[in-house]
Amino acid sequence: MITLGHYLLVSGVLFSIGFAGVMVRRNLIIILMSLELMLNAANLSLVAFSRFRVDPNGLPNYNAQVFVFFIITVAAAEVAVGLAILVALFRARQTTDVKDISALKF
């Protein structure tokens, strides 16, 4: 049988993949995609907990799903702003590689 732990495990693996992408990759677009993966991994565990905690009236707990809705909205706004910053950066420096953007590096 599929338990809550299975879904949490998938969510954890997905989060780790996204984290590895942020740590390893140097292309800013891929880093943004990995951020999306991490946000979605959190969404998966929220939805799993929502389905796990069934209210007395026999419905899933919708508070978590409202939270997921908010996360999706914030993520969409974040992607739009992040990609706009990327375009501005590319115009100024002709690169999307984090290695070449070291003006603030100590």
Partner: protein, 167 residues
């Protein structure tokens, strides 16, 4: 949801999620991300969260991915494939992520509640759009309006950021 379908979609999500990180071509990464999000939407629907699953397909696999692909097309990114990989840095970053994964797995293994199966829902398929809408407008009305302001700010910010400065 049968266990077979769960494993199919879970593997689809994880494998294509890994492909996002592994692929060197940004277009291939973006397309892998689409497949990963579709698998995730199927997992949401397996948890009776149909509304969230459909929003996932519409917003992520639709809008966000078109934004990514459009940007890759605009910037014409081909330079990255010629670069060499710094294997030491990659191993360090991957190692930190691996430690995180081990920690997560150990925590889930120690979490007793996670071994229970999902309790059945009363009645047939729940009317989620109606229930989420009711929760959103009754209990979470203020956060909902704040989110609206956030989206407005993001829209204005994007327009300002992408406007060319006058020379």
């Amino acid at each position: 949801m049968s266990p077979l379908l769960f494993w199919f979609f879970a593997l689809l999500t994880v494998i294509f999620g890994a492909a996002v990180v592994i692929n060197r071509n940004p277009v291939a990464s973006a397309l892998s991300l689409v497949v990963s999000f579709l698998g995730l939407a199927a997992l949401f629907m397996s948890l009776d969260a149909y509304f969230v699953g459909i929003i996932q397909v519409l917003v992520y696999a639709g809008a966000v991915m078109v934004l990514f692909l459009f940007l890759i097309m605009l910037l014409n990114l081909q330079v990255e494939e010629r670069r060499r990989i710094n294997w030491l840095a990659a191993a360090g970053g991957g190692g930190v992520a691996l430690i995180l994964l081990v920690q997560i797995v150990l925590t889930i293994g120690r979490f007793e509640t996670a071994r229970r199966t999902f309790p059945p829902l009363l009645g047939s398929t729940p009317d989620d759009v109606r229930n989420i809408g009711a929760a959103l407008f009754r209990n979470y009305n203020l956060p909902f309006q704040i989110i609206g302001v956030l989206v407005l700010v993001a829209t204005i910010g994007v327009v300002l950021l992408s406007k060319r400065e006058p020379r």
